[in-house]
């Protein structure tokens, strides 16, 4: 199934009638790689949350494949999505159990998928609370990629990685066929040619 086309026209997302981000005018076609830019607090994270249906559309139009958004369409979009939030709360318990719940029932991680981002099988035996922030970022990425989503929504996913790992992650994501929306203050994304910038308007 191809990635969906997302169209936002004068879209304002908010909560309980209070606008949080927008108006946004943006068309995201399958395979697009987009870097959302703007000063802190301008609503980059909120835009990702709005697209995923965690904020409500207050004004304008939000269409997926030319259909105005609805709860079933949001649930369907989430099935196609891979989302990593900047808080990176993975919960508690063992890494193995977390992966079991995060991946499709028959899917297991191969050693190569872990080693791609410098993780080893030993990480499976650890508990989530014992992982460093960088390890959690890499684990979340590995799990997300294993699900093979068509739409990545990535919020500050390289903030705790060293330079070589950051380069590795960015080049890997730039090569995928998936649609990618990135929020990051890390200049490495801007330097990557695969990504075009979308400066977010500052909400008045």
């Amino acid at each position: 199934m191809p990635a969906p086309t997302i169209q936002l026209q004068d879209t304002v997302f908010g909560h309980l009638g209070t606008p949080i981000v927008g108006p946004v005018n943006l068309t995201i076609s399958p395979g697009d790689k987009l870097l959302l830019e703007g000063p802190s607090g301008c609503g980059k994270t909120s835009l990702l949350r709005g697209i995923l249906g965690f904020l409500n559309k207050l004004q304008g139009s939000y269409q997926i494949d030319n259909e105005e958004i609805s709860p079933p369409a949001i649930w369907h979009l989430r099935q196609q999505a891979g989302y990593i939030s900047q808080e990176l709360q993975l919960g508690t318990g063992s890494v193995r159990d977390w992966l079991k719940e995060s991946l499709p029932p028959t899917r297991e991680l191969h050693e190569t998928e872990l080693s791609r981002f410098q993780l080893t099988k030993a990480v499976l035996e650890q508990s989530l609370e014992d992982l460093s922030r960088g390890e959690r970022q890499r684990l979340a990425l590995v799990a997300m990629l294993a699900r093979e989503p068509q739409l990545y929504l990535l919020d500050e996913v390289t903030s705790a990685l060293n330079e070589s790992l950051r380069k590795l992650v960015v080049s890997h994501i730039a090569r995928t066929q998936a649609t990618v929306l990135v929020v990051s203050h890390d200049a490495i994304w801007k330097e990557c040619e695969a990504f075009r910038s979308y400066p977010l308007p500052v909400t008045s």
Binding site: L16, R49, L52, G53, F54, P71, I74, W75, R78, Q79, Q80, A81, G82, Y83, I84, S85, E87, L88, Q89, L90, G91, T92, G93, E101, S102, M144, R147, P149, L153
Partner: protein, 265 residues
């Protein structure tokens, strides 16, 4: 069977002399509890005198409709007062709390009356109200604790919850860790109580029956039955409570309606 010897009102009054000890301790250490203690003792005495009076009438009258109505009054009063002191919004939860507790309590008491005590009249006041009250008292706080814990955990770990949804988890799967955590927290004390029952403490119901002249062999059978009933009632009422509130507390996109669920901080 010979009942417990009656205590004269004068003899009971002498029991209040014992209170001089806690009163002396609270006053000496300036715990600031003297007023609360006196009010609580007065309320407890008055409430129990009233309970003795109305239970006497209910037992004498023994009308099934009246007995059920009284159980309903207990349910409303109990769910209302505990919700009032919890982090949950009264308006959103009072009806589901009442329904979940009513279904669980009534179902289990009627089962006990029909298959364990084997009564002819399943709505007999002595059993319906006493057993129902005991189940209710034991289930209620576990219910509210687990529901508060469930909704507060989702609110406080919003990002983790959204991550699960944002990676394609259906609502029930995204809620699973919170359901597990809240049920475990609510059921663990019951399991611990059964582990030490009869070793560390003699439970109230059994002690009461033995003071009332029952044979210890009979008293323990009732205690075993009531422990199983309490645990089952707790599990059932919490599950029903979460099930009934889920539809109201989450919007069609699976977002927690915090403003309807939790009281403002």
């Amino acid at each position: 069977m010979k009942g417990a010897p009656d205590i004269s009102w004068l003899a009971l009054a002498s029991c209040f002399l014992l209170l001089l000890i806690p009163l002396a301790v609270t006053a000496r250490l300036r715990l600031g509890l003297t007023r609360d203690l006196l009010v609580a003792v007065c309320r407890m005495t008055l409430q129990l005198i009233l309970a003795g009076l109305y239970l006497g009438y209910l037992f004498k009258w023994n009308h099934p409709g009246m007995n059920l109505a009284w159980l309903a009054v207990m349910l409303v009063a109990a769910s209302g007062s505990v919700l009032y002191n919890s982090a949950l919004r009264w308006r959103t939860f009072i009806v589901p709390a009442f329904l979940a507790l009513a279904l669980a309590t009534l179902g289990i008491v009627l089962y006990l009356n029909a298959f364990v005590v084997r009564l002819e009249n399943l709505f007999e006041a002595r059993y319906l109200i006493v057993l129902g009250g005991m189940l209710l008292g034991n289930c209620l706080s576990a219910n509210i604790i687990s529901a508060s814990r469930f909704y507060q955990a989702i609110d406080q770990n919003r990002s983790a919850y959204e991550s699960r949804l944002g990676n394609g988890a259906p609502l029930n799967v995204a809620l699973r860790p919170y359901v597990k955590d809240s049920l475990t927290a609510a059921l663990r004390p019951g399991i611990a109580a059964m582990m030490t029952m009869g070793l560390v403490s003699l439970p109230g119901m059994m002690t009461g029956q033995m003071l009332g002249g029952s044979d210890p062999g009979v008293a323990i059978k009732y205690q075993i039955a009531i422990m199983i009933a309490i645990f089952t009632c707790t599990t059932l009422s919490i599950s029903l409570f979460l099930l009934f509130t889920k539809r109201v507390c989450f919007d069609p996109q699976g977002n927690l309606r915090t403003h309807l669920v939790l009281k403002p901080k």
